[in-house]
């Protein structure tokens, strides 16, 4: 089991109990009075049978507060993800803190800082590096590069997941899109692992048919589903931050009601990606302090009701290069979220408002995770760590603790040693050719790819992956989602993939 980090101290509360209750009550009122929007007949019927009022012409489903609160009670406060190497399993929740690979659409060229589709090989290399980094606890093979050259749109998620299974033994995460989750589930079952799935609540409080189909599939298996209610202040939610919270919480509770009615005890994670938008460009600002504060409120609500938070708070901002801004945005976002109680954190490699992904950045982000993790571990307070006897023995200056056995023991074990950040002296840096951190990270990527080996899939597992991919290709060809003219370039891309 990858235990991640145990947070030794209580998370910070940003709301009083009365404020928290006001948000919760506001969300209940929205659900009861306005309701959630959905046209999916099977879900409407399920909710109706449980006492919801369904207005089929308007596609609105009004949810009684008692039902919402009852369903909240049966969501487990943690969930387990089974990996292909059982030693890599994770349990998300409680006071445990884990990190998840970030998401991005295109390959970041560090020469030009422009974005282009990634190749299948580049995608595979991202999985190998993610597998090697100790602070990537859960992989996001599906979302690391969602634009794969030559691969038809509909097959990108599945080809991504297949690479994830081939090149990592860690747990995998999925999404949904046009039924592709049914193939993902089959792949996972054939390999003997579980997946969690990120499913959007289209803000404000609406559920698309595809999302609901996916919720049914995952919840029926009792696998964890993440509610992703992404209300953005002034765009898809009202302007004030508290109102964003009310909207998101209403969406989350509707999501929870659906999952618990499908199967009681289905694990649900809250994956908030709400916050504020840029007042000129309208894109979301995951790296804005207002968004971080929104997350802090979410975290407190979730703690109160025992819902694991799989947050996307610090995963990327809008930096244009791997520079001061990039590091600041990521570390402050993820740290403020962790300090207020979230559990699994999207982080490694994500760039440019999710439009870019980079293996180099994945390595740079490892230091953010490692530093924060070390901070969370804090220190034990006991006789050994208080070291009063040691202090009495050594006495006062000019005596020193440098050569002491206890110092030697702790220097080796008790410090986080950065992977790429340069903590050496300035003089050494000048003498060493003034290497910048991006160059150091690039070298690290090269070294990992040369050295790291991933236990291969067994022959049976390999066959499952290939069979399911072949079936998905046939399925999407037959229903037109892979166009005839896409087929030849797709086959050529697979042929030329030169996978590791």
């Amino acid at each position: 089991m990858q235990h991640g980090y145990l947070r030794r101290f209580a998370p910070i509360d940003v709301l009083t109990e009365r404020e928290l209750s006001a948000i919760h009550q506001g969300a209940l009122e929205i659900l009861e009075t306005c309701g959630a929007n959905m046209r999916h007949a099977k879900t409407q019927a399920l909710l109706e049978a449980a006492g919801c009022v369904v207005d089929r012409s308007a596609c609105q489903v009004r949810i009684p507060p008692a039902l919402a609160e009852d369903c909240l009670r049966t969501v487990p406060s943690s969930y387990q993800l089974v990996a292909r190497d059982r030693g890599m399993d994770v349990r998300i929740g409680g006071d445990r803190v884990h990190f998840l690979q970030g998401m991005g659409m295109r390959y970041v060229d560090t020469e030009t800082w422009e974005l282009r589709p990634a190749t299948l090989r580049e995608h595979a290399e991202v999985q190998i590096v993610g597998d090697a980094l100790p602070n990537v606890h859960v992989m996001d093979a599906l979302f690391s590069f969602t634009d794969l050259a030559g691969v038809p749109g509909i097959m990108q998620q599945l080809e991504g997941l297949a690479n994830g299974f081939r090149y990592s033994t860690k747990p995998q995460h999925y999404g949904y899109l046009k039924d592709s989750d049914q193939f993902a589930i089959r792949m996972a079952q054939g390999i003997g692992v579980t997946l969690d799935a990120e499913i959007d609540v289209a803000p404000p409080v609406a559920f698309g048919d595809e999302a609901l189909e996916a919720i049914w599939r995952f919840a029926t298996l009792g696998w964890c589903v993440w509610a992703s209610p992404g209300g953005r202040a002034g765009a898809t939610a009202p302007g004030p931050l508290a109102a964003v919270q009310v909207q998101s919480w209403a969406g989350t509770m509707a999501f929870i009601v659906i999952t618990q009615l499908i199967k009681r005890g289905t694990p649900v994670g809250l994956h908030p990606c709400d916050g504020v938008v840029h007042t000129k460009w309208a894109h979301g600002l995951p790296a804005a302090p207002e968004t971080w504060y929104t997350r802090a409120m979410t975290n407190q609500l979730c703690r109160r009701f025992g819902i694991p938070v799989t947050t996307a708070s610090g995963f990327c901002g809008h930096a244009k290069m791997f520079d001061y801004q990039a590091g600041m945005e990521k570390s402050l976002g993820v740290l403020t979220s962790i300090m207020t109680g979230s559990h699994l954190h999207t982080l490694h490699g994500s760039f440019a408002g999710e439009l870019g992904y980079s293996n180099v950045l994945q390595v740079l982000d490892e230091d953010i995770a490692g530093n924060i993790g070390r901070y969370l571990m804090g220190t034990a307070i006991d006789d050994k760590s208080l070291a009063i006897d040691e202090a009495l023995e050594v006495g006062t200056a000019p005596a020193s603790f440098m050569g002491r056995a206890l110092t030697r023991e702790l220097w080796a074990k008790d410090r986080y040693e950065p992977l790429v950040a340069d903590w050496g002296s300035h003089v050494d840096w000048v003498r060493g050719g003034k290497k910048d951190v991006v160059t150091r990270a690039q070298e690290k990527v090269t070294a990992i790819l040369a050295d790291h080996t991933v236990a291969p899939l067994t022959l049976e597992q390999h066959a499952v992956v290939e069979d399911v991919l072949a079936e998905a290709r046939d399925y999407y060809r037959a229903n037109g989602l892979i166009a005839d003219e896409e087929w030849a370039p797709y086959m050529a891309a697979l042929e030329a993939a030169d996978l590791p």
């Binding site: 659409m105 969602t146 634009d147 038809p152 749109g153 509909i154 990108q156 899109l177 046009k178 289209a202 698309g208 953005r232 002034g234 765009a235 898809t236 938008v277 840029h278 007042t279 000129k280 460009w281 309208a282 894109h283 439009l355 989602l481 166009a483």
Partner: protein, 213 residues
């Protein structure tokens, strides 16, 4: 303040109710609805210029566009009855393609197009190709603006272009495409007339289509 000045002020104040009231009053006073419409267009253009210059923000533009849209039906009806024609740079049909529910980008594109003086018919999200074609036909659109954020829904852009051709409408309408999943190569490969990665760029492109650039 005379009525037209009041109308301009209502746009400036993002006051939809006042804008509609002033529009009605203008008609009662026998003022020319075409001129009243032009007054609104000029007012919102000022706000658009402020947006470009960094002195106004997107919520200002959206507020002004909403005020303008509250008054527009009143004036449009009067213009139609009088047989006149309101001054617009062109008519745009816009929306996010079928299977795609991303709305923020296309709404921004629409807002900037309205501010620039286009007559915009925003259809919404998850719009089937057939609906775009119908709206182009019904509104005599000069431009259709398609948004697709997902690689998998980008193919819908192509479908719209195909159906426009099948309906014999392709020659009368320019197709512009955008959204995160699209790039210039893709746009060219499906025979779109233009692509832009940003909303201000979309306005410039639209202007170039109607010879107003």
């Amino acid at each position: 303040m005379d009525t037209l000045a009041g109308l301009a002020q209502a746009i400036n104040d993002y006051d939809a109710a006042a804008a509609e009231r002033c529009a009605r009053q203008a008609l009662e006073e026998g003022l020319d609805p075409v001129e009243a419409f032009a007054t609104m267009t000029a007012a919102i253009k000022d706000i658009g210029d402020g947006f470009e210059a960094g002195t106004r923000w997107l919520p200002d533009l959206i507020g002004a566009a909403a005020a303008m849209q509250a008054a527009s039906p009143v004036l449009e009806e009067a213009i139609r009855i009088s047989g006149g024609k309101k001054a617009a740079l062109g008519t745009v049909v816009a929306g996010t393609v079928q299977g795609d529910i991303h709305s923020i980008g296309i709404e921004m594109v629409c807002t900037l197009l309205i501010a620039a003086g286009f007559d915009v018919h925003y259809l919404g999200i998850d719009i089937p190709a057939e609906e775009f074609v119908e709206a182009v036909r019904d509104n005599g659109a000069d431009i259709v603006a398609l948004s697709a954020l997902l690689t998998v829904t980008a193919a819908e852009d192509k479908k719209v272009i195909q159906l426009l051709a099948d309906a014999g409408l392709r020659a009368q309408v320019k197709v512009m495409v955008g959204g995160g999943a699209i790039n210039a190569d893709f746009a060219a490969s499906i025979g779109a007339d233009g692509y832009e990665p940003s909303a201000p760029g979309a306005v410039e492109l639209a202007k170039s289509f109607v010879g107003a650039a």
